[in-house]
């Protein structure tokens, strides 16, 4: 900062001058805030801060585009979890109506969000990219047992929309769940099939997504083109 000047040793500082200097700073900032919108505050429930890339929000369990679950119940995520917050129990796929393409599927899948440290080691461990993290971060509950997300909440719908813990709660915004998708509806490694080869997809569900970079098509434009 060029404003800062280290006074010479023994130099007499004029209190009036210093006071005027300090008060000029506050006044300048006041006018800047009022007239040029210089406030750094973001009005959180109304507007959302842009999330950084690879933001570690809550998990979802993904599906293939044909509706099959990606999870094969291998429990590698549970083994990788340093907080021991994931509980998986696999089961053999019913032959007439298979849930996942593999031999087995995730019969029980629970994550205790109170224990989770959001390290994403489960995401790394997963061989089928069934578990991923989103931009969703509003997970407060009034009850400890509500913090345990079961398969009903973790597994996304057929169209890739994640489920909410309290879908009927007036504070729950179901719209923000569908705000963006990409990864969850993904078949291609980069995201949704229609976006294969383009970079316009957003990697995660939730709010506060980054705008597309220069040269990219924004997610909305791309989906219109798709239709």
């Amino acid at each position: 900062m060029s404003d800062l000047q280290v006074p010479k040793e023994g130099a007499i500082q004029s209190p009036v001058k210093n006071l005027a200097k300090g008060m000029a700073v506050t006044l300048r900032h006041m006018f800047k805030t009022i007239f040029r919108g210089g406030a750094i505050t973001q009005q959180y429930p109304k507007e959302f801060r842009q999330k950084p890339d690879r933001f570690h929000g809550r998990h979802v369990l993904n599906r293939y585009p044909d509706g099959m679950e990606k999870c094969i119940g291998c429990e590698l995520c549970a083994g990788a979890c340093p907080a021991r917050c994931i509980y998986v129990r696999g089961a053999d796929n019913p032959t007439d109506e298979p849930v996942s393409p593999g031999e087995r599927f995730g019969f029980v899948y629970e994550i205790n969000m109170l224990r989770c440290v959001f390290c994403a080691l489960c995401v790394e461990a997963c061989p089928t990219e069934a578990i991923t993290m989103t931009n969703l971060f509003e997970m407060s509950t009034t009850n400890r047992s509500d913090a345990i997300y079961a398969k009903a909440e973790l597994l996304v719908d057929e169209d890739g929309t994640p489920n909410h813990m309290f879908p009927d709660d007036e504070l729950a915004s179901m719209e923000e769940l569908t705000e963006a998708d990409g990864w969850m509806r993904a078949t291609a490694s980069q995201g949704r099939a229609a976006y294969d080869g383009t970079l316009a997809w957003t990697p995660s569900a939730g709010v506060g997504l980054r705008p597309s970079e220069s040269g990219q098509v924004s997610g909305e434009t791309a989906s219109e083109e798709e239709e």
């Binding site: 008060m23 506050t26 006044l27 900032h29 800047k32 406030a39 009005q43």
Partner: protein
């Protein structure tokens, strides 16, 4: 209905009920009661506005938004806070001195409101009622010792802080109370000196004045018009455009007054009595709910009153030369607007200082009070005494070349 219902005499021939009612409303005690209620309501509402304004302005200075959720631009935030405090549990420490503990917030609020009694809020107006000319002065009680009264009440206000700190039976409030005592004693003297300067200067301007030089209304009245009225023909033409406010000749006492007022009202940078970072909440640490709200209310009423006293004694109160000639109710309303504007200007200075200046250390506080403000005030006092004496009696014989 008989007039006796209002007054101790029966209705005379031809008097309507309305006349009776008007007369009743203008009896001294009714008029006093009405003005008390009006001033009380104005103070309460302005306090709500001031708390919001302070939070918004400090936020703006710190690149924040401040309250935004309650009402447009968060203007109802103070009301919401007040309602919340009203319903909160009131906790009393088991080691508190019960009656003193309960008395302290009451003293704070009562003294805060009392101090405003002597401040005129608008230009007086003469009205014709029932064939009599009555002068309505917009001051609750025009005491002829107004300035002394302000000093006296502001000293009593310190008891609230001291008693609250001592009676809480807890160490941080005690420290806050002790600090408040020392601070108040130190700055009371400086404030007194600055106010004496006003009185002495006003006696200079008060040509053939009546003998009520300590009345705040009178001191405000002397600041009407422009400096031309006071310095007359010898003055330059330009003085015509300078309002005859005391702040021009008394800029140094004004500075002393502002600093002392900051210290008296426990405002930053003199808020050692409630320094959050060191002693939690200071004297009001152990107060909760409505009792805390009373301290909070008293603090802001005190700030408003100190600003009003400063505006009245230094900035010409409700006088603003272009509006001085206006008669009738328009003049009254405009003068009230001028008064509020000036008070808010001083209040803005308070907020601005709070956002800019860090808190003083205890020894710096004492140094500023005893080694700077009081000597400067004393020198100013002696100098103005000499000027006044020479003006009244001429130079003494032993002065050469006089």
């Amino acid at each position: 209905m008989d007039c006796a219902w209002f007054e101790t005499r029966s209705r005379t021939e031809g008097e309507t009920l309305m006349d009776c009612l008007t007369e009743f409303l203008l009896t001294d005690w009714v008029y006093a009661t009405v003005s008390v209620v009006v001033v009380f309501v104005i103070l309460l509402n302005i306090t709500i506005l001031m708390v919001w304004l302070e939070r918004k302005i400090v936020a703006d200075m710190q690149d924040r938004l401040g309250p935004m959720r309650a009402g447009p631009f968060g203007i109802l935030q103070t009301v919401a806070d007040g309602i919340k405090l009203l319903f909160k549990e009131q906790i009393m420490p088991s080691r508190a001195e019960k009656w003193v503990y309960l008395l302290a917030p009451a003293i704070a609020v009562i003294t805060a409101f009392l101090m405003f009694l002597v401040v005129p809020i608008a230009k007086p107006i003469s009205v014709l009622i029932n064939g009599q000319i009555r002068t309505l002065d917009f001051v609750v009680m025009d005491l002829n010792i107004g300035v002394l009264y302000v000093l006296a009440i502001s000293s009593i206000a310190v008891y609230a802080v001291v008693l609250a700190g001592w009676s809480s039976g807890s160490k941080y409030p005690l420290l806050g109370g002790v600090r408040a005592t020392a601070q108040a004693i130190s700055y009371e003297a400086a404030m007194g000196l600055s106010l004496v300067s006003v009185v002495m200067y006003s006696s200079l301007a008060d040509i053939g004045g009546v003998n009520n030089g300590l009345s705040v209304s009178h001191l405000v009245e002397l600041q009407s018009g422009t400096l031309e009225n006071i310095f007359g023909g010898r003055a330059a033409f330009l003085l015509k455009f300078v309002p005859a406010w005391n702040v021009w000749p008394l800029i140094i006492p004004f500075a002393i007054f502002i600093i002392a007022a900051l210290a008296e009202t426990n405002r930053a940078p003199f808020d050692l009595a409630e320094a959050e970072q060191e002693i939690v909440g200071g004297f009001h640490t152990e107060y909760s709910g409505m009792r805390f709200a009373m301290f909070f209310l008293a603090e802001y009423v005190n700030i408003f009153t100190m600003s009003a006293v400063g505006a009245s004694l230094f900035l010409g109160g409700y006088h603003f030369p272009p509006f001085d000639g206006l008669v009738g109710w328009l003049g009254v309303f405009l003068s009230f607007g001028v008064f509020i504007t000036k008070v808010m200007a001083i209040f803005f200075l308070f907020i601005w200082l709070r956002a800019s200046v860090p808190r003083f250390r205890y020894d710096q506080l004492m140094t500023l009070g005893w080694k700077r403000l009081i000597p400067i005030g004393l020198v100013w006092l002696v100098a103005s005494t000499l000027v006044l004496g020479v003006r009244q009696f001429g130079f003494p014989d032993w002065v050469p070349f006089a």
